[in-house]
Amino acid sequence: MGPLTPLRGDSGGQAMLGVLLLVAIVVPVLNLVVPEGSPWHMSTYTVTLLGKYLTYALLAVAVDLVWGHLGILSLGHGAFFALGGYAMGMYLMRQIGDRGVYGDPVLPDFMVFLNWQELPWFWQGFDMFWLAALMVVLVPGVLALVFGWLAFRSRVTGVYLSIITQALTYALMLAFFRNEMGFGGNNGLTDFKDMLGFDLQASSTRVALFLASALALALGYLACRWILSSRLGRVAVAIRDAEARTRFIGYRVDRVKLAIWTFSAMLAGIAGALYVPQVGIINPGEFSPLNSIELVVWVAVGGRATLYGAVIGAIVVNYGKTYLTGAFPEAWLFALGGLFVLVTLFLPQGIAGLFQRLGRRKAAPPSPEQAGEAT
């Protein structure tokens, strides 16, 4: 069984990964090789923007894994994303060293500003990349594990679960807004200088981050596919479609849910960690419930339960957002709100569903059962 076996039969995924590979080759060339004056030159800003979209796409894949295939509508995935981002942000903060405004060799600026004398215990060791990288997956993973263990064990499902995931991210947002938490309060972590010794402002670093995002997306996608084509994934889909029946057959529903849920949170954490060095800031706004709901819409627009649809949705909606907030700032919320309504009413299968319908018209295969309801 090769690494690409899970892609068998997933034509959408194959196409998506193919395009991703193409982009990953073309973009660095356009940015680094093509001279700046040329019309073919791609600005570093655009590279970073694309890199940001790719991290969003990875986040959307993580959400689609639990929503599309496990039936858990998480309104709190933004929290895992932000936690991963904070872990990376802490590493980047420590890398600033004495180049901060106050020039303190150890303490980040905001701590000097708050008159703190020494580094809090949870900041210890974040100057080492490996520890930060570990925390990027560990912190969201452990939070998801504890939260999921509590929730799935007592069979909190459906809307209730959605609402308490929203409460979770809301509580975290309130907590991170507090200066006493030691994460920079309102302003968050920013003003990063370099990463692993490379200047974050340099084009080459940006391209490297873009490539890392593309790689993470590809690997994350493959991992999700691999899970879904395994026995675990089939049980997950069974849980989505008929949870009680799966339980009565003898599967440990809560364990299956917990495993996939935790994995999804870790993926979200990685996406956050790649997002932060590219945008250069992480603040408690990332925890806001609106962000988490927005990313559910990416998945809904792209097409729930297809995985590659999540990637398409994340990129299309975010491109629309970048365009609209620049061209018609007033219209963005109308557009987003309208998307929510129209997609749920008229396009329940999303963009991927459109593709499938086109494909079906050609080949006319028996329609697969899509997106059953978990209520």
């Binding site: 509508l73 939260f147 509590l150 929730a151 064990r153 007592s154 069979r155 909190v156 459906g158 809307v159 209730y160 959605s162 609402i163 308490i164 929203q166 409460a167 979770l168 809301y170 509580a171 309130l174 907590a175 807004f177 507090r178 419930p289 609106l290 709901i293 559910v296 819409v297 809904a300 007033e330 919320l333 109308f334 987003l336 709100g337 309208g338 998307l339 929510f340 309504v341 997609v343 749920t344 009413l345 329940p348 309801e373 978990a374 209520t375």
Partner: protein
């Protein structure tokens, strides 16, 4: 078969009913206190309210009982001409008239002396000026206190050329003068043309006492009370005499209390232990901070063992009462926050609880209600006091119609798909927010408090409840009762219950379920609008205000048990009180976080909330 209707299980609602009955009792007590104490109540600016409210409060305080008649009547008498008889006689209840009757030695014949006395202030001799001030104080003119205060504050000047007494304000290189007595503008003069009326220290002391005595004799009980309040612990010989005089004729119980306390505090300085003991007894367990300070001073200096013991006992008593008051205040703040939560959540208890629709636009319906209040106030700027009575039905209609439109346009296609409903209604909430931003403004708007909402109800000197919070608490309970009655006693309520319990059966019985769905959703939305009217009186009104309530509202409904109105009430009040109880230790934000974490954990323990629905099949 499941019966998702609140009244289903009596067993489950009993504890709820008991708890609720208790909280309603508390609220009723508060309401009774509100009625009983109104005469006694002190209107103070509500510092916790928004600037607008504070300003409104200050306004009502600044113009107590201004009916315009007394000044003109007094002026007529001052003139002492036949014009006086042309003026209508003041009515028996007229404050000015009462003053004349009460203050001995202030009869009509002496009144013209006010102007003469005022003129004497321009003399150089302090003796003459002191006599002039005394004459002003004795004149009995309502403006006397104002003049003395101006003199004390160094605001009185005289014009050099004619010796006229004026108030002066520095403008550029000269003075802007106004007649001290009539307030008539006299234009500007050069820097050297007006001279300040100087006073010395003995005169200052005398002035203060005179001023206190003067205000103590004021016809307005509120002014008398604040004068007596001012003298707590600061009374001197002169003001003590004034206090004694006033006590002899004081009729208002609250002013009497304050005067007696002022005398008692002064009595703590008595030479004899017996006198001090009597003073300690008289202070009793007064809640004025001055009483406690005076007792503290006494305890550190007291030599007599009996007096010391009495003073310590009194102080302990005061501290115990203060602590109780602080508890009561926390409870009140908690209930107040709880009532806000209940108001915000109760519409959701209908749409989410009874219908099972996840309405993420609920917060925006609240916002629409608040903006309706704003628009109503724009339409009737001269009748802000009545605007809320127009705004409540208007907000119900506006939000209700939006609700019906949302149900007919979107939600009815999504029944049975709760997660999709959640997303679609969230989209609607974004659209509504942006709609308000585009049409009205992205900024917060100012919704004014009617005058009867500002100010506070002083239960005792250490505990006062702001009116807006008291009214909103009562209002929340009224809305709750109204909703409960609607669901239990009306035809619509019966149909709503029928459809939510068994749609197919209800339809077979001839209930038009689609219409009932729309009306139910409209009812829930309308209630949200009404909640918005109430919330506009407490918090900022802006496009984002709904977002602040949506999570809290869901928490309340889920905590209370979906489909159970009583659960919503109990959960809202409980969470409010819990939040406020924690705040002193943790701070507001952490308290909120802890409440959220508590609910998240609670749901794990009881996934269906405090009062879960139970089937009625077993009970027949």
């Amino acid at each position: 078969m499941r019966h998702p209707y609140p009244s289903g299980s009596h067993a489950s609602t009993c504890p709820a009913a008991a708890l609720v009955a208790a909280s309603i009792l508390v609220a009723l007590l508060l309401a009774c206190a509100a009625v009983g104490q109104t005469a006694w109540a002190q209107t103070t600016a509500d510092t916790s309210a928004r600037p607008g409210a504070a300003a409104a409060g200050a306004e009502t305080e600044a113009v107590p009982e201004s009916d315009g008649a007394p000044p003109s009547a007094v002026r007529a008498r001052l003139d002492g001409t036949a014009k006086a008889s042309a003026e209508p006689e003041p009515e028996p209840g007229d404050p000015a008239r009462r003053l004349d009757e009460q203050v001995p030695g202030v009869g009509a014949p002496e009144q013209p002396s006010l102007e003469a006395a005022l003129a004497a202030l321009s003399e150089r001799s302090f003796k003459v000026k002191e006599q002039a001030a005394t004459d002003i104080a004795a004149s009995g003119d309502p403006r006397a206190a104002d003049l003395l205060k101006a003199l004390l504050d160094g605001d009185l000047y005289y014009r050099k050329d004619d010796g006229r007494i004026v108030r002066a304000e520095r403008t550029g290189d000269g003075w802007t003068l106004t007649e001290a007595l009539t307030g008539e503008s006299l234009g500007t003069v050069g820097r050297r043309d007006a001279k300040k009326i100087t006073i010395n220290n003995p005169m200052r002391t005398k002035l203060r006492a005179d001023l206190a005595a003067l205000t103590l004799a004021s016809p307005d009980p509120a002014v008398r009370f604040s004068a007596a309040r001012e003298m707590l612990g600061t009374a001197n010989t002169a003001s003590l005499a004034a206090l004694e005089t006033q006590l002899a004729r004081e009729e208002n119980a609250r002013v009497r209390d304050a005067i007696e306390l002022a005398l008692a505090i002064a009595g703590l300085e008595s030479e004899t232990p017996a006198g001090r003991l009597a003073a300690v007894d008289a202070i009793g367990s007064s809640l004025y901070p001055e009483a406690r300070n005076a007792l503290n001073r006494l305890i550190t200096a007291e030599a007599d063992a009996v007096v010391l013991a009495a003073a310590q006992a009194a102080r302990a008593d005061i501290e115990r009462r203060l602590k109780n008051n602080a508890r009561l205040e926390t409870l009140f703040f908690g209930l107040s926050l709880g009532s806000v939560l209940v108001l915000a959540a109760i519409g959701l208890a209908i749409t989410f609880g009874v219908m099972g629709v996840i309405n993420m636009a609920h917060g925006e319906l609240i916002m629409l209600g608040a903006y309706t209040t704003y628009l109503v106030q724009l339409l009737m700027p001269n009748a802000i006091d009545y605007s809320l009575f127009v705004a409540i039905p208007a907000a119900f209609l506006v939000a209700g119609l939006f609700g019906v439109a949302i149900e007919r346009g979107v939600i009815r296609f999504l029944y049975g798909r709760p997660l999709e409903t959640l997303l679609a209604t969230f989209g609607i909430s974004l659209i509504l927010q942006q709609l308000v931003r585009t049409i009205i403004s992205a900024q917060n708007v100012v919704v004014e408090n009617p005058s009867w909402m500002s100010g506070s109800l002083a239960i005792n000197p250490a505990l006062s409840l702001t009116y807006n919070r008291v009214y909103i608490l009562v209002f929340a309970l009224l809305v709750f009762v109204a909703l409960l009655l609607t669901l239990r006693r009306t035809a619509l309520g019966l149909q709503v219950r029928a459809v939510s319990q068994n749609r197919a059966m209800a339809r077979a019985m001839g209930v038009r379920s689609a219409r009932v769905d729309a009306l139910t959703f409209g009812l829930g939305a309308g209630i949200a609008g009404v909640a918005g009217v109430a919330l506009s009186q407490l918090t900022n009104v802006g496009p984002n205000m709904g977002q602040a309530y949506i999570i809290d509202s869901f928490m309340v409904v889920v905590f209370g048990g979906v489909g159970n109105l009583w659960g919503t009430l109990v959960a809202g009040l409980t969470l409010g009180v819990a939040n406020k109880l924690m705040e002193p230790w943790t701070g507001a934000v952490l308290a909120k976080i802890l409440v959220l974490v508590f609910i998240i954990l609670f749901i794990q323990w009881r996934p269906r909330g405090l009062f879960p629905q139970r089937g009625r099949a077993a009970e027949g």
